[in-house]
């Protein structure tokens, strides 16, 4: 009997040690200490034994039973700690649950990125009212009276304010530059500021033309600045937007408020300058006008053009965002269509 008990016990110990799962452990438990377990059955044989042997064997059996139960419990704890809380077929490839999804308008995003860049270079951010007078939209920018260039920007005039002298005529600003004169009038030079804002043109709209669009103007005015300093500003804008160095070229362009004036082109980012349908096969895309503020504009702002000069660029944010993401219809920006806007994180 004693040997039997010992052999069952050592057999049980091995089985417990070998058990690899809780269910395996459960079957070990029933095999030894369950109702039909081998230790339980041995217990049932006790009455058949000599009365003298019974107490000792009973004690031995109880100890064995307790030991097995303890070992099983210990093993179960050990298995539990090792095991995962979920079944092994848990799918880790299902998509995550997003934090509630809002976002800034893609043009706001671009504008803030550029603001950060220019702020780090010591530029202030300037904003101005959108209704202006013809005086600031054209006169102060060196547009001669009755000059055809006044018409090149078809302007939205306000009812009841659309005739009379230029300080009486009011419109939705056709460009930002008039506001820059306001800034210069009310601040002391040197200036370096950026001026983001929406401008309006009375045009027929299509995928590439909008009545309301965003400009981003950057202006630096100081003593002894050469027009070539402007290249630094242009590079800063484009490398921020595209995340890499983008070749640019400056060519002759005419705008009444700058002298000299430039059209600034960037290398086409679709074909890398080789020529494609996007850039009309020239490899370059016109992105912004620029130039040194015309002496008459500086005078209008109360500055002596013999002392001060500067550089100005004015970039269309809509077009930049379109190029950056391949958006093919400028009207989407003002559509308030969430199917479009939600794409920009």
């Amino acid at each position: 009997m004693k040997d039997k008990i010992n052999s069952v016990l050592s057999e049980a110990k091995t089985k417990i040690a070998e058990a690899a799962s809780e269910s395996g452990l459960q079957s070990v438990k029933s095999a030894y200490v369950g109702k039909q377990g081998s230790l339980t059955l041995l217990m049932k044989e006790l009455p058949k034994l000599d009365a003298a042997l019974r107490p000792e064997m009973g004690k031995l059996l109880n100890q064995a039973k307790n030991q097995v139960t303890e070992l099983i419990d210990a093993k179960r704890t050990e298995l539990k700690l090792k095991a995962s809380e979920v079944s092994p077929d848990f799918d880790c490839s299902v998509p995550g649950i997003m934090p509630s999804g809002g976002g800034l308008h893609p043009i706001t995003q671009m504008c803030y990125d550029l603001n950060d860049t220019f702020r780090s270079m010591g530029f202030e951010i300037f904003e101005e009212d959108e209704i202006t007078s013809e005086l600031y939209a054209f006169d102060k920018l060196n547009f001669p009276p009755n000059h055809p260039a006044r018409e090149s920007m078809d302007t939205y005039w306000l009812e009841g304010h659309d005739s009379g002298s230029t300080n009486e005529k009011l419109c939705l600003r056709p460009h930002l530059t008039g506001g820059s004169v306001r800034y210069m009038q009310t601040h002391k030079p040197p200036y370096r500021f950026v001026y983001p804002g929406r401008v309006y043109r009375n045009e027929t709209t299509d995928a590439h033309h909008e009545r309301a669009f965003f400009q981003y103007e950057a202006l630096i005015v100081d003593k002894d600045i050469t027009f070539t300093s402007g290249k630094v500003m242009i590079q800063s804008i484009l490398s921020k937007v595209f995340g890499r160095h983008v070749p640019v070229r400056m060519r002759s362009g005419f705008f009444p408020f700058v002298e000299p004036g430039f059209e600034i082109d960037m290398q086409c980012q679709v074909c890398g300058g080789k020529g494609c349908s996007v850039c009309k096969h020239v490899g370059w895309i016109e992105v912004m006008p620029g130039g040194s503020p015309h002496p008459n504009v500086l005078r209008a702002a109360g500055l002596d053009p013999d002392v001060y000069t500067g550089f100005y660029v004015n970039i269309g944010l809509d077009r930049l965002v379109m190029m950056r993401y391949g958006v093919d219809d400028v009207r989407l920006f003002h559509s308030a269509d969430l199917r479009f806007l939600k794409q920009f994180k």
Partner: protein, 814 residues
Amino acid sequence: MKLSLSWIKDFVNIPEDMDLKKLAYDLTMSTVEVEDVEYLARRFDNMIVGVIEKIEAHPNADRLRVCKVDIGGGEIRDIVCGGSNLEEGMRVAVSCPGAVVRWHGEGEPVVIKNSKLRGVESYGMICASDEIGLGDLFPAKQEAEILDLSAFDVPAGTSLADALDMNDVILEIDNKSMTNRPDLWGHYGIAREIAALYDLQLAEIRPFETDVQSDFRVEIEDPDRCTRFMGVEMSGVYVKPSPYKMQNRLWKAGMRPINALVDITNYVMLATGSPSHAYDADNIVDHIVVRHAKEDEKLMLLNDKVLDLCTDDLVIADGEGPVGLAGVMGGAKDSILPKTERVILEVANFDAAGIRRTALRYDNRTEASARYEKAIDPERCEQAVALSMQYFKELYPELKVTGFCDNYVKKLNRAQIDVSLSWLEKRLGKHLTNDVIRGKLEKLGFDVQIDGDNMHVTAPTWRSTGDISIKDDVMEEVARMYGYDNFDATEFTTTFTGAINQKDKSLIRNIKEYLAIRCGMQEVYTYPWMNDVFVNAVLQSTDGILRLSTPPAPDLSCIRSSLLPNLCEAVAKNERYFNDFAIFEEAQVFFDRNYTSVYDPTESLPEQRRHIGAAFASDVKDINTLFREVKGVLEYMPRYTHMEAFEFRKEEKPVWADNVVWLNIYLGDKRIGDMGLVAKKVSMDCGIKNLSVMLFELDAAKLQPLKSRTNKFTHLAEYPETDYDISMLFDSNVEWNDIYDAVMGQKKASALLKEASFVDEYRGKQIPQGKKSVTIRLTIGSDEKTLTSQEIESAANQVMKKLGKKMGAELRTQ
């Protein structure tokens, strides 16, 4: 403007091997934007001149013929054609397989293939002029007329491009890039610029000379408005078509040939940039006077438009009255007609601003007025007269000049500018030698005298009408001729006087980022104009709203005084695709009041403010949840964005709001905005079908950014605090504000009470009618010891007792 390269070559000896891509690039970089370089002959690829040998009936169609066409090299092909003017022996334009045509001159281009027409094999097609883009050059006189090229004496099989002199290159120049360069508006002007760029020889146009003596004269009454008038009177002319070469060039430049007399004037304008006009001399009574129109005078133009003139208009008049609108368009009375035998050629110069005013006044802008209004130099008249007379004599060998005059009443002075060379170097950021500077300018026709640091520059006449007037203009000329590509970027330096701290700008950005990123809302942009439907629905009045005088559409004339109408429109538009969303917009709003300007005393601008508006739309949340969500966004905003906290009051219901669910937003005593549920009727008027919509709008300029962060530190509680929830029954109309006041107000309900917060409220089953159950979370604790459960309960009891006494609340027992 379209320019023919062969025409430019009349004036400058461009080398045959010149890379045209480079020419276009160089012109673009330094002068004007060349938008396109078109090899014209490519339009006529696979097109040839064929000769119709024989015409046979089509076996299966009455209207069609089968033509046996000689296509060169003795090859005869069958071509099926429905032309109405087919004749044997006729030379015709044949589009062979591979050619690109447009059916009847309309629609998309089509590539010609060998095909069967009603069962008969046809080798390409015999073309009408408009099918191959030549409708303006060879206008058809009748229906289904094919292009008759019999006048072109070329053998069958000659390529159409060769036969019609189309081996040319068209440069298309962006007109906008030369609004400031009146000298460039013609082939000669561009030729002059090319000559300067490449140091090439520019052809001279020899002046016209005559010794004719007669009483022909022209009178100029206002020398400020008409600075020069050259007139040539001649006889021995008549109406006939101009030679093909002239027609061909007019067409390449985008004009339609008319007759030789008119074509010469247009041709000379395209060549020199100087407009001219030919009058039927027999219709001129007495002599020509250039004068202001008189009050009540009328003029019928060439295009039969009758104008009621005003005294600001300059007219060409004869003894009877106006015969032309100076610099804009000729009159009907003296125009060239088939019976014309004598003409007076006018080559004149007019004041730019005056021409522009007149052209705009009658909405009658012409090629001539477009050129005059850019300020042409009067010296150019001589070129134009010389070239015109050259062609008149060529086309009419029998012509006689019977009169000539040159009234040059206001001489153009060449612009004189002094430029300091050290200033120039500073602005260029690069040292250029005097020889380089002088060389660049002299090539452009400037006279240059250098004396020490001073450079005295005299601009050529063609640059002296306003284009070149200050030293910055001279600098631009030097820089562009030197090549902008040849200047490197230079760094700029600055002194910092302190960190840039623009709290107002940062606040708006913080708010927008808070709404978008923290609150999960989407920023939208809408236009500044509002649709009348939404103005009427949401604002319900147009008082104080500014309007556009030429709106994008008749119902879009109001410009916004509030962001809410457009936000409601955006909600309505998005309802189709989304049923639970929140949007916001930050933009300017405008009011027809408080006109003022801080910048110029004569200016007066309306009140303009910056608003932030938002719309929350859902058909899944109940109103209570939606309301609390919106209020939460507003309540947390000041804290997140570091601004003065605002409070909610119920003073005046916004017109668009539901009768119950609305609040005014106050900062101190100032109302800075509203929030509320959109009333059912408003929602319906906006076309919003199923969504409940909450709105808020804030006046961003009234928000006050904090000067720095205002967080407060309190020591961590030394003894534990316990949350203890109580639920009590209140009268249904009791407000949380009052409950909170009673518990936490001046006299706290218990000294151990740290905070009381709203958990939820409940109306419905198990709650008696007219009552609601409010669950309140009490935070109870002491600074001196750990409380026993009895002490906690007794503090809670004190609260309940006070609520019972002050608010009539009962403990919820069921």
